[in-house]
Symmetry: C2
Subunit: 467 residues, 2 copies
């Protein structure tokens, strides 16, 4: 019965969308012709793939503060200029120093075997001798939280929770808490080390890195991620009911008092009538150090730049500016995004609407706005234009952006959330396997087309998305 009601409501909304999109006329005939031309150009373009190929071949890994990061900043500026951006600049970003070093893990007992392991981002090292300790197995962060104080004295805590594979990446959230908080909770119970099953949906013998946190006043213990097959192996050894002992060595170095510099790279297609207002296309330029960041966030870098570049090729600029922001240090905690907020605090109201690509490796299938109630009708016009590419308009109007643009959205910027097929995204996320061959070349033109149409629409229409 409840299902029935929901279904009816759903139908009602779909119908009303169909009707409204007949009468709303956000764009005029000339503009409609132009936006459809843009769509066709994007669908027939391999530009986004070429940009990603260039980034991953000529730069590769680009962790904040690394040589690769500095190369990437130069690469991005040069690429934007060659793609016809009107203005390109950088805004400095600073962060602490963290170096991965090497990681080694072995089961010592009951059955000696090596394991594949990767330090979590931000982890301290173990020292050159490494640590050798009995392991206590927990199936989840919650189980670890329920362990008695002192019960982990001198031991290594291990969480074996596995993330699930979902099209929208929703398996990530329930598992990733252990990565962030595990080391602190384990240390509070006396542990001297923390290992967890990688937060990944794959079965590859590679660890998935990603940020972990420490807490003031709690001992900083080394934290590392096992590959999924190695987590399986460890669990199978636990099944024998014998004590499990592990050796762990991380030569990671964390220097909270040594700053590194990086930069947000910003490129603008300058508006012809209201250049001081701009549409934000966000992505992050940094990657983890292990792969070449072809997906995370090479796709975001490539589709935002490609979409803006296609608009730059039109005979004239849309009314508002389009600002591609390639943020620094997203992986280590939205560092570039937060520093952008400080530097741009006086013109936040000029960010008319924003979008960010930092997830998925497939076609866009859903758009969910987060705009004022009045401008929703205009969004429906955009939806009608995008629908033939397989993109549904989500009946909810609660898009909050994601990743780097979240701080802007929290400060009042309207947002558009595009959902794309991310079924295989967490197979490669934060691993050595994040490389160019994983990029879905068939999807990129569609994504670029949606982005270009969205940016053009928002820049050309003059709609106030806050209303």
């Amino acid at each position: 019965m409840y299902q029935q009601v929901i279904k009816k409501i759903g139908l009602g909304i779909t119908l009303s969308l169909a009707f409204t999109s007949v009468w709303a006329n956000t764009l005029n005939e000339t503009q409609l012709k132009e936006i459809n031309g843009l769509k066709n150009a994007a669908l027939n373009s391999t530009l986004a793939y070429e940009i990603d190929e260039s980034l991953t071949t000529e730069v590769g890994a680009r962790m904040i503060g690394s040589k690769g990061d500095k190369l990437a900043i130069k690469w991005a500026q040069a690429k934007m200029k060659s793609l016809g951006f009107d203005k390109v600049w950088t805004e400095d970003v600073t962060y602490i120093t963290w170096e991965r070093g090497m990681a080694e893990a072995r089961i010592l007992a009951p059955y000696p075997q090596k394991m594949v392991v990767l330090a979590l981002g931000g982890s301290v090292g173990t020292g050159e001798q490494g640590i050798k300790a009995l392991v206590v197995h927990f199936e989840s962060l919650n189980d670890l939280q329920n362990a008695k104080a002192g019960s982990l004295d001198g031991k290594i805590a291990f969480i074996s929770k596995r993330m699930t594979r979902e099209i929208d990446g929703s398996g990530y959230g329930p598992a990733v808490g252990g990565r962030g908080a595990g080391a602190v909770v384990a240390a509070e119970k006396g542990a001297i080390g923390f290992i967890l099953r990688s937060i990944g949906s794959d079965n590859n013998r590679v660890g998935h890195t990603g940020m972990m946190r420490y807490k003031e006043g709690v001992k900083k213990i080394p934290a590392a991620a096992l590959s999924n097959p190695d987590a399986d192996l460890l669990v199978n050894q636990f099944k024998r009911g014998k004590p499990v002992e592990v050796y762990l060595k991380l030569t990671s170095q964390r220097k909270d008092d040594v700053a590194v510099t990086s930069a947000n790279v910003i490129g603008e297609i300058t508006g012809s009538e209201n250049p001081e207002e701009f549409v934000v296309l966000g992505a992050h330029l940094d990657s983890w150090d292990v792969g070449t960041g072809a997906l995370d966030d090479g796709i975001g870098v490539s589709v935002t730049m490609a979409a803006a570049s296609l608009i730059a090729k039109l005979p004239q600029r849309p009314k508002r500016s389009i600002r591609v922001i390639l943020f620094a240090g997203e992986e280590v905690g939205l560092v570039g995004a937060n520093q952008y907020m400080e530097k741009n605090s006086k013109n936040l109201d000029k960010h008319v609407i924003g979008v960010e690509w930092d997830f998925a490796n497939g076609r866009i299938y859903d758009m969910r706005p987060g705009v004022g109630p009045q401008s929703l009708n205009n969004i429906r016009d955009l939806a009608k234009l995008i629908a033939p590419m397989g993109v549904s308009l989500n009946p909810q109007n609660n898009g909050r952006g994601s990743s780097d643009i979240r701080p802007l959205v929290s400060a009042g910027m309207p947002a558009m959330n595009f959902s794309a097929n991310g079924l295989d995204y967490f197979d490669y996320h934060h691993t050595e396997n994040d490389t160019l061959d994983k990029v879905d070349q068939e999807a990129l033109p569609q994504i670029t087309a949606v982005y270009a149409m969205f940016a053009y629409f928002a820049a050309q229409s003059g709609v106030d998305f806050r209303k």
Copy 2:
């Protein structure tokens, strides 16, 4: 037209198989009941998976001469005894010493990036300093063979040929030649190092190892396999038309004059009437050192042992013996198989028929005998029993066994070739990724059933497969 003729011939054979299987009566009613009971027991058994889980959890990697190899030999004997084998023994095998050491590779120019690389089996090292050299790119071994003498002086040769994915693994042969012969051919042209795209159908950031060869009188140069994504990266850097320079370091050690010992492990279900004659179920116990050898050849070890064990559970032994031979050192060149031939040269005629599992990770779909013309009718009886499990009888009678049992077949032992689905086999083959989670748990009961029925049939029927 030609197609038409072939089709008719094919049809004729199929029909004749169907008719003959109606009148041949290799097994009597009691035996038919027993073999079908065996089939049902196998299809409802998880024994093969349990054996593989035990091998990979309690032993893991087991390269010939390693600690793991010694553990595996003990494990196999204990397991056979616990599974009800009547006799279990070992036959010593010796081999040279080879240690992998570590491998490191980086592109130095035009765009510095690290690569994932693995030493090929048997390769010499580079020395602690490594080698730094310009790279010459060849698309195949054939292209390398066509390079001019001296044209590779002081350089590293690189072959980028990619193997194709095929159900029967037939993409392996055309690509693997470069792995075996590449270093010799490159050295003959003056190269100081050899790298090749891994012989694998995957897109993972792991190298595929496997044996390479040296040649008397040709300089031994270090040889390594790049992961597929890294081979792509290197090819993409070559596309820029600039000189490509690479750093390669392998700390591998090859000691041709230091022997290691290993053993073939043999278990027998002793026949009740003709115990001196036996049916051979072959697999190899060794694995490469990088994965846990769950597929290669954990599956072979597990299905041969499980099939024999199910037969040992019957109320009485079949007439002939069933001999499970777990060969040593297959990976380094059929070392155990060749030494088995020497030790068993006097009773080769007692090996009535043999089968080997050393490929694939899926259900059996085809059986191809290699027997005398007269016993083909008996094979048709077996085929009829196995057919309901989706196994076709191949109209060709040219099965030559594979891998470890090839020397026996060359010496006159009849063989049965079972073909199984190996579509994903070369994703994991000879890599760190060869782990338990890759094993197709749904396929193992079917494979075990086919093996058990084959072994029972050959042991119980008394058919002379040489005739």
